[in-house]
């Protein structure tokens, strides 16, 4: 039996998804279901001075029109905290509809509940809200003089300044070559296909079931329970299928609790689905930001100093910045380093995770700057990176748990044909197209939950097994990969194993965020299945009726559901024979994985990869077309080759999108985004997708988690935008330091 792990197993939920049998949170049929529609503030700052709901109340089908005057006060002030911790995970430290103050446009000010969605939507337009507006700040440029250095960011988990190494200012003064470069980034929104949706059902006066689109069912459970003042046992969350997230469902945003409150107010199950435009102001975004990089190097391109400073726009409630500095600080060996965050408070919702949070911008800045350094010192960009390769973690000096970056560089260079590259910019013509290639390093931290991660494995008398853990499937392929993990640990074919997730009734797993989902879940699933297998083997060797009686459990292996002696495979019996003889209907085991915190580990844990791009730029019209992308990554062990490569491919295409298309445009006159729809917020279409090659290099990792899984959720996007921008430079000789790169920059 060849191992299931690593095989390109088809998605176990593929059929249910393509036939429509898979039910998402907005598709659960419930008797008496009512529909809630949120009404958002149309001004970015001010007070509500009047709400006229008469017309809405009398419209057909309307059950309730709720405002801050109707809703009860929530039981706790929410506190922003990343869901990876496994605790309450509010998206922002603010809950709306508690008073008359408006902090940001789109902030919920009323909820209309009706018997159909269309009637609720219509009645929402009949609610007249009057505001006393106050001046608003919605762009970074409006508040630079107010910028401050936060003590901590990221829910208090990350210091506002990175650890300084050496004396970067002195090193910059002494450097043979210096660069001082500033990079600007448009606001990005996650835009999953399925807008966030919650269906709330009160089973009793104080028992709530939520069908919620979430990256972590337990995060929803704990967060909503806290706001409602309920014990967590009274809140059950079901989340089997989620239509994508990209960070928008990583934390728990107010609409989830508002759905529960509305259901309680009207005494009926209530479904609240955000509309596409509401997705632009209800669950965070990648913040508007600017990053400055200063590099000092010697004439050979060896880094002597690196500073990396970021300024970003956050809300009035939270010191949020995506952690753009973390990977960039440790990608290269550099003895002198400093980096820190500054923030400006504005009238916006708190920003949040957006695909490749932090690294997608931070590594754009670093890798663009490295390309500039390569040209400044006349060294090939890939050679420059090899000269600065960090053999150990430059911040702590610890060895890497695994790395594989040199192998990624080498393989990527072969695939794109880097060896033949003429570095001269702006000289390769293909008709009207200018052609160029570029590359960048990808890096993303290996994160792990703080809390123990659990899974349960049960074997039935026939030798088939069900393995359970409370994760949701939001498109990553987790259900499939976990089936493979369980099959190998139990020694069963994948067809004899079913993996089930999707509710808080199951053993607890933290939200699958920060590329940590596969590592955490596979660890718990593997340990649960190993426990179960060992339990069955111990039973067999103790059973006088078993051919394995008296054998050393350590000498027993399982193949295809049959336990046998390693040295004498003909001696053995199947799980089913053992269980049947002993009249055992089933056997169960729990697996618990307690992650090691990075600071407590002897190793530094990071994922690396190499990105290469070939672009063509229309010399007259400025149009940019990506012709080829090559990404080679070293994500530890790959659980499913097909789903892992799909995720990496998807990440790279989001990187293409970030590089060339994605921008949410704030109109400072209205304080609102001007393109809250998918016709005007551009993401890549199939026609934009070039020839893409994805490869993985498997590097054994004994440290990160039991199976050595470093995750593929984020690393695919990191560096893609820099590789494309560097290719644009190689093609045209024009250095663009603002994302997205649109054609007007190249005219």
């Amino acid at each position: 039996m060849s191992p299931a792990i690593g095989a390109a197993l088809d998605r176990v939920d593929g059929r249910a998804k393509v036939t429509g049998a898979a039910r998402y949170s907005g598709e659960i049929p419930l008797p008496g279901l009512a529909y809630a529609v949120l009404l958002g503030a149309q001004v970015p700052s001010g007070r509500i001075i009047g709400i006229d709901r008469q017309a809405a109340m009398t419209a057909d089908g309307v059950i309730a029109v709720l405002t801050h005057l109707d809703l009860p006060r929530v039981a706790a002030r929410p506190r922003l905290f990343p869901s990876l911790a496994g605790l309450t995970a509010h998206g922002q430290s603010y809950f709306p509809m508690q008073d008359d103050v408006v902090h940001y446009a789109g902030q919920p000010v009323a909820i209309v509940v009706a018997d159909t969605l269309e009637r609720a939507e219509h009645a929402a337009t009949l609610v007249r809200v009057s505001y006393a507006e106050t001046p608003a700040l919605t762009l970074l440029d409006q508040g630079r003089e107010q910028a401050y250095e936060p003590e901590k960011i990221f829910g208090g988990l990350v210091p506002g300044r990175n650890p300084t190494r050496g004396d970067p200012e002195a090193a910059l003064r002494d450097a043979e070559v210096t660069l001082d470069l500033t990079y600007r980034f448009a606001v990005n929104h996650q835009n999953p296909l399925e807008p966030s949706t919650t269906t709330a059902v009160w089973d009793d006066v104080d028992r709530l079931t939520l069908y919620d689109s979430t990256q972590g069912p337990t995060a929803t459970q704990l967060s909503v329970a806290e706001l409602l003042g309920l014990p967590p046992v009274n809140v059950r969350v079901v989340s089997h299928y989620v239509g994508g997230s990209f960070g928008s469902k990583a934390l728990i945003w107010p609409h989830v609790t508002l759905a529960a409150l509305a259901a309680r107010q009207v005494g009926r199950p209530v479904r609240l689905a955000l509309s596409r435009d509401q997705m632009f102001h209800s669950c965070g975004h990648r913040e508007e930001q600017e990053q400055r990089i200063r590099i000092g190097a010697d004439r050979n391109g060896r880094l002597t100093a690196l500073t990396h400073d970021k300024i970003g726009l956050t809300s009035h409630f939270d010191d949020w910045a995506e952690t753009s500095l973390e990977s960039a600080a440790i990608t290269y060996a550099c003895p002198n380093y400093a980096g820190g965050y500054r923030l400006v408070r504005g009238n916006i919702i708190t920003p949040t995770f957006t695909r490749g949070p932090g690294e997608a911008t931070g590594m754009f800045a670093l890798e663009s700057a490295m390309d500039e350094l390569a040209y400044a010192v006349g060294v090939d960009p890939l050679e420059l990176r090899l000269r600065n390769h960090a053999d150990t973690d430059p911040e702590t000096g610890k060895p890497w748990s695994s790395k594989g970056l040199r192998e990624c560089y080498q393989r990527g260079a072969e695939l794109i044909g880097w060896a033949d590259r003429d570095p001269t910019p702006g000289v390769r013509r293909d008709g009207q197209w200018l052609v160029g290639t570029g590359m960048a390093t990808a890096a993303y931290p290996v994160a792990a939950p703080i809390s123990p991660q659990r899974a349960r494995a049960r074997m039935y008398g026939d030798g088939s097994a069900v393995v359970e853990a409370g994760i949701s499937e939001f498109g990553t392929g987790a259900l499939t990969a976990m089936t493979q993990v369980a099959a190998d640990a139990l020694g069963l074919p994948v067809t004899r194993v079913r993996f089930v997730g999707g509710t808080t009734d199951l053993p607890n797993i933290a939200a699958a965020v920060g590329s940590a989902g596969a590592g955490a879940t596979s660890a718990a699933v593997h340990l649960a299945c190993v426990q179960l297998r060992d339990q069955l083997i111990r039973h067999a060797v103790a059973d006088q009726g078993s051919p394995l009686h008296g054998a050393d459990p350590a000498d027993v292996v399982v193949r295809d559901g049959r336990m046998c002696r390693r040295d004498a495979p003909q001696v053995g019996e199947t799980y089913a024979e053992l269980l049947d003889r002993n009249h055992m209907p089933d056997v169960e085991a729990i697996g618990t994985w307690t992650p090691v915190l990075p600071m407590a580990s002897d190793h530094a844990m990071h994922t690396f990869g190499a990105q290469f791009a070939e672009v063509a730029v229309d010399a007259d019209l400025g149009r940019i077309r990506v012709r080829r992308l090559v990404g080679v990554f070293a994500p530890g062990r790959v659980l499913n080759r097909k789903t892992a490569h799909s995720q990496l491919l998807g990440g790279m295409l989001w990187g293409l999108s970030q590089a060339l298309l994605e921008a949410t445009r704030m109109d400072p006159h209205t304080g609102r985004y001007a393109n809250e729809n998918l016709a005007d917020y551009l993401v890549a279409t199939n026609a934009d997708v070039p020839d893409v090659v994805v490869e993985t290099i498997e590097v054994p990792d004994q440290v990160v988690n039991p199976l050595g899984v470093k995750g593929v959720g984020e690393i695919g996007i990191v560096g893609t935008s820099a590789a494309i921008a560097n290719a644009v430079y190689h093609a045209t000789g024009r250095r663009i330091r603002t994302l997205p790169i649109t054609l007007e920059a190249l005219l």
Partner: protein, 346 residues
Amino acid sequence: MRPLSYSRVADVATAVGTVAADPDSTFLAGGTTEVDLQRVYVSPARRLVDINDLPLHQIEELPGGGVHIGALARMSDVAQALPIRRRFPMISQALLLGASPQLRNMASIGGNLLQRVRCGYFRDVAARCNKREPGTGCSAIHGINRGHAVLGTTEYCIATHPSDLAVALVALDAVVLTQGPDGPHRYAIDEFFLLPGDTPHREHPLAHGELVVAVEVPPNPMASRSLYLKVRDRESYEFALASAAVAVRLDGGTVAEVRLALGGVATVPWRARRAEATLTGAPATVESFAAAAREELAPAVGYGMNDFKIELARRTIVRALRMAIGDPDLRDGTAAGLLSQDDHGS
């Protein structure tokens, strides 16, 4: 969504009579614009009169080389129709470069000509917009206006006309046939699209209840080698930043005759008459193309984010003309090359 009443009619006279009799009603064809605008409360109509059963789907060659296109013919059907592909490739290309396959399968030709602008402020009922609510002002002039027009604008409105098809039809001097409450009308296409002036809410010279029944494209031998060039940020499913429909007849090295219209840069589908006049009789060189482009864009006005469109439109004109004369320095710039992405028809 607002409560609506809906009826379905089977003949043109009933359709026109029904809508003309009710000021709160409008026609429903493919629905790809009207339903969107209903959902965002921009369309004022309370009653939709479904005209999809009317016998207006035909695509017919006319004696002499013209073509008659029924107003209910779908974008995808027109794009693939042999007479269109042979005689007026710029129409076929403009259609295939517009919208998405799903939308093209639904959207009608009449609806395409009457589609409303994509200005975000027009579609946002909370914003000021003279086109939606006359007299309230224009939020776009000082707002997010990267996609907005640089030609034909006024202080009242700078919204770009979104249709690709209309650009080709303007270049070809098409005629719009309607049936009004007072009888049939024929509009030269230039008269069919109104500049915003100080009345941007009036986009067409149509009476309430007047139904577009067909478009006629007159014969034009040089149009059989015409093309449509569309410049945008992404390869599919996006409105033009700049586009050009062009047909050229050369006499030796001289431009004997030229048709040129622009999209994506003007408040109406823009016939580039200044450029045409400059080009006619001029040598077919990049220099004279550039001179014509400068001439056409001389009155252009930028509004900040869209300043680049003035230069982009110039370059788009030059490129389209180079493509039309088969400039050998262009790699994939032929009309055939433009179709490779989307065109799977026979």
